[in-house]
Structure formats: C-alpha cells, structure tokens
Symmetry: C2
Subunit: 371 residues, 2 copies
C-alpha cells in the first residue's frame, strides 16, 4: 500500500510535546481529536518489542479533556453514561462508556473526578464536548463546560514505575490502578494517574501547563537512560493483543456498550438519569446478539484493516460478523484481530472465515484477549 504525507495546518493541532516527538525519530502521525497523535518511530514491531520490555514516553496530548464543573456536574455526568457514578469518589478514574439516547456509543473516555463538583472527561476521538454542551443547554443545567489545555503524557511499559519514581518520588508507588495523586514537578502540581492505553502498566500525567511539557519530557528521558527509555506511542499490535478497543475503529455510534464487551461497566438498572437508559434496559437484561471478540487469523501477515472485513461461517455466505483491527503479532506468531461476532459464532474456539483484501482466511474466535 502506498504512503501519503500528512499536510500540516493549524486545524490539525500540535501539542507542547510535538517538537520533542519529531526530534525523537518520529516517522508517522495520525489525527485524533483534531490533533497530532504519533503512530510510528522505528517499525511497528520494533516499537512493540521495546514497549513490552522497557519503558516509553507517549505524547497523548490529543486525549483532550472536557471539564465539567458546577452544582449539577454529577447529574450531567450521569446523563452521559450507563455506569453508576454514585460510588465514585474524588481521586478516582472511571472508564465510562458514553452513549446517546439510543444507547449508541459516542465515546469511551476515562472520567477523572477532581472534586465533588469538578470532572475531567479524557476523551477518545469524537467531539463529545458538543453532546455534553447540548444536553446542558437543553436541560438548563448549572454547569460550566470547557476544553482546558491539558495534554496528557503517558509513561508505559514494565519499567514505567521505576522511571516515574525517579521523577516524581516514591509517592508514585502508592497510586493504585485507576486512581490519581497530585504530585509536584518543577514547582507545579500535576495530576498523575495509574492508567494508560497499553497492558504493560504505567501512568498518565495530565500536563496542564505548556511550560512544563518539555522539562518533563527531558527529565523522563534523562532519568530513564539506563532503563532504555525512548519516545513511543500506542502500539497497534500490543493494543489488539490486549483487546484495548479504539473508538472509530472497533466501535461506532452503531454499537451499544454491551456489544463492545463493556457491559461490565454498565449499571443500566441503577444508572438513573442516563440519556440512553431506556434504550439499553432490554439489552442489559437479554444481552447483545453480537459482541466484540479477539480473533486469531491464520496465514501470513495481513494488510492493515482500513474497512471492516466481513466474517463468514466457514464455507458459507452467511455473514456472522466483521473484523475492524488486525496486525501480525510476533509474540503470538499469528495475526491478532478484534472484531464484532454474532452470538451464533462467538464461543471461544469457533472457526470462521475472514474476507481480507488478500482473500479469505480461516480464523479462530477466542474467549479472551491474547495474554
């Protein structure tokens, strides 16, 4: 497949880390929330091996924050998601499927509760701000909704904790998964959460001042030299292995959270006030008729998945699903994939046929991610 240049413009916003990223051997970008997201430094496979062994610093400044604050902030947040937010305390991060009034996925952000009346919604690639503002206006809610300049920087990989402790001190080790602390750096307090878009462990630092960005990047690189730290980015192979979903790739507004395997983050019966609750009540009880699954696709490395690949019952023309992300995995020595598979074929071990641009391939539906 041919490669094309990405034309730079103001509309495709840079982050305060972009200069450092480009000085670190960047080769490719994508655009995410109208912003640059690095996608490749060395080779996808080399980036992958490095991520699984060492530690990487990721410019995920494109994870824009929608800040909701005010007396009715919690009420508004509960309108957005079928996850019950009543147990959520300040200091917690919740993975929150967000749905429209039909139960269709609008985004799958991590919501950060900064205070009883103040949240950051750390969004995937859709202008969720507009939906939130629309609801707030329609329901005349006493809230203020903004897009503050906060640029998350992720530190991911098995050596992430060691590196983070050197830069932020031993308090880093006390942060539990999906919790955050405010830790000092260069005289500023930064929100540091144990989270991130990999299965290798790590942290996300919510950098809310452009002045801190390069000093923080440089400190991580200098302190991590012996840990073989380098610039990195979300890795296609690693995220597919771990079944980390990508909004716009593996799910769209067409899908309910239950179809996306996110039923465990939905408390539809008790999430009273959620705009999509009526639409989701039946699927919450009966379950969905198709669901996200990991698949292993036989044969040589597949090309990139740019349009959904149809999935058929073997030797038949009955369509039973589609593959939406796929890549060759060196560690599992097979093509790993994520797709939506119908109830009739979603049991682990079921054989299906995937129509790739290179022709039909046999594939096996898995009961779990590649771990």
């Amino acid at each position: 497949m041919e490669s094309f240049i990405l034309t730079p413009s103001r509309r495709v916003r840079r982050t305060p880390f972009s200069d450092r990223v480009e000085q670190s051997g960047l080769k490719a970008y994508t655009v995410y929330n109208h912003m640059l997201l690095p996608t490749l430094f060395e080779l996808t496979e080399a980036d992958y091996h490095h991520l699984k062994r060492h530690v990487q610093v990721w410019d995920v400044g494109c994870e824009r924050q929608v800040e909701v604050r005010g007396r009715e902030a919690t009420r508004l947040l509960q309108m957005l998601t079928p996850r019950d937010l009543r147990p959520m305390l300040p200091g917690r991060c919740y993975y929150t499927p967000m749905v429209d009034e039909t139960g269709g996925m609008l985004n799958d952000p991590v919501t950060v509760k900064l205070a009883e009346d103040r949240y950051w919604v750390s969004i995937a690639d859709s202008d969720l701000l507009l939906w939130i503002k629309g609801l707030a206006y329609g329901f005349r809610l006493e809230v203020d909704i903004t897009e503050p300049d906060v640029w998350p920087l992720a530190v991911q990989g098995p050596r992430a904790e060691t590196l983070m402790e050197r830069v932020f001190g031993p308090a880093v080790r006390e942060i539990r998964f999906f919790r955050f602390s405010r830790l000092p750096f260069n005289g500023q307090e930064l929100v540091v959460a144990r989270s991130g878009y990999s299965k290798q462990g790590g942290f996300e630092i919510y950098v809310d001042s452009a002045e801190v960005a390069e000093p923080l990047w440089d400190a991580l690189m200098q302190q991590g030299r012996d840990l073989e730290v380098r610039a990195g980015c979300p890795n296609l192979i690693e995220r597919i292995e771990g079944q980390l979903l990508s909004y716009g790739n593996d799910m769209t507004r067409e899908n309910t959270p239950h179809e996306c395997g996110l039923g465990r983050f939905c408390d539809t019966l008790t999430a009273i006030g959620c705009a999509g609750r009526d639409a989701l009540l039946r699927v919450a009880v009966d379950g969905p008729i198709r669901q996200i699954r990991s698949l292993a696709i036989d044969g040589a490395p597949v090309p990139p998945c740019l349009d959904p690949w149809p999935v058929y019952a073997p030797g038949s023309t009955t369509r039973v699903g589609e593959v939406t992300s796929a890549a060759w995995s060196p560690d599992f020595d097979t093509n790993v994939a994520i797709g939506m598979v119908q109830l009739s074929h979603w049991t682990g071990g079921t054989q299906v046929e995937v129509e790739t641009p290179d022709g039909g391939r046999m594939a096996t539906v898995r009961s779990a991610a590649f771990i």
Copy 2:
C-alpha cells in the same frame, strides 16, 4: 520542515473516491471529519494554476451530511444558526454560521433544504451532529437526526460548467448560485448544487450511493479530457486569496460569526429561537472589536502557519491580532494571509508587523480579499 506519513486506519475513513484519487497522483492528505481529504497532487502552486485555468474534480467526501428530518426540523435548524431561515425554500443552499449558546462558532456549513421537513447540513470539521442531537434530546423535538452516507464530489474551475453540461446535460446551466437541482446520472437522481470551496466557480454533486462514485468520477475525467480536467483539491493559496475561511484554522469556538466577517449571514434580531441569540444581540448591534481580514505579508515566501502568528502594531509590543492562514501567491506576487485584526488596526492599508517563525515581517491589512 519535515514531512510525516499519515498512518491509515478504519477510524480515518476512506471515501468511495479514494482509490481513484490515489491512482491520480495524490501526494498528501489531511483528516477532516474523521475522513481522508486530499491536499496535494503535483505541487501546491501547480495545482493552483491549474484550478484557476481549467477544471478539477475534488473528492470532498469528508463534507459529511447531518440529515435532520421531521415535523420540527425547521425549528431545530433555526436553533443552530443566527441566520433567519424563514425565507429559505426547498431547493436552496444557505451558508449558515452555527453557534453555541455563547455565540461561539461550532461550524460553518452549507445547509441544503431538500424539503419543508428535511435538511442536509454539509459540515466543516467538527462533530456538529452531537450538538444537534443534544439539542433535539434536551428539547424533546420531533426530529430524526442521522449521518447518511453522502459523499460530495466537487467540480471546480472556470471550465466546470462546460464539463458538467457534458455529463449532466444542459439543465446544469439553469442552476443558479447556491441552488440545486436533482439531475440523472446512470439511472440515479443526484443533488447537484452550484457551490464549492473555491472562487473559480463550479458545482458540488451530493453522491448518495457508493456504486455511482467511480462511474461518475470516470465520466468526468473522460468527458473532460480536452478541457484538461484532472484530480484536485481545495487549494490553500486560492482559498486564502478569496478569503474562504476554514473552520479550525481561521475560526474556532472562541469566535463569534461577526468576528469572522460573517455578520452578513446573521439576522440576529429576527432569528428567534437561535440558541446563541441572547449572546449575539449586543455584538450584532455594536459590532465586534476584532474581525477577519486579508493581509499581504512582505518578503520571501512564508512557512506554513501551524500556530497563530501574533500581529503587532509596527515597532511595538502591543498585540493587535493574529494570522491563522498564509501562503505565497504567484498571481499576487506576495504572501497572502487571513487573520483576526483588532478594530484599531483593521482599516484597509494599515501597516502591521507579523511574527512568523522566520522572524518579524511587515504586512498590510486589506479592506477586501485578493481578487
């Protein structure tokens, strides 16, 4: 400046024209509405000269449509824009600034009125669908809001009418500016409007069936061979000369339509029901304190404008505006630019100083576009 590859993925959607575009010598893309938008074929200057002399076919499939239909469709549309929609008849296209409850620009689409109760909103680069859905849900409006698969194809340039007549027949000549007709092609009826994102004249064809896409592309290329037709795309130089604004580049949610020079499309006093009306009433009467202007920047060709360039009063540190788009114009033999300039300096002929990445440059504010 270095160039980086755009990583392909399903999330960055292809259009039914993408294969043809890539076969036509495409060199670069941008991402617009989560979709590929071609940006370069030969060289920006060569593409520019060709556009101004001949005719080009543009894949603007990324101009997604938000379809609003139902009994309260017109009421909802009027909530979105300060333009008075009461005179709008079916068959008309209106350029419609769309604002939030603070009067901030959310998008600047062309709205197409298909029928009394059915509209297509042909959007610029923001998920306006989410705002529209939020309002409809909040106000319990009897409307259906969808994103139909409609991929506009633009035919632009001084020879556009000649080419379009060959493909769609003489009825093309009857279409007035910002009107549309339904014209047959390959047994289907397509909405054909006299509109487009250039000042060279032309049409936009709202292709609502993927099957028609390549036959239509091929017909335009074959019928236009002696007209020197070729694949093209919105051209940075030409659009700056003509002061065609780009949402996300020249304006954001920070700006009112009046600041964007779009006051002539606002009827704030009579646009009763517009969500931003209260916020805009004062500015509609008093006028804005800064406004979009064309500027001519002295000296050698400037680099691309990736972040707003500050504009100062000459020899002073008083900031009086910013430049958001700039390019070298061969026809005007100067750097042409678009920026926001304060009231004190926006009179045509005023000298200002622009801080470019290459250093300060003298520039002249113009009273009109480069035409």
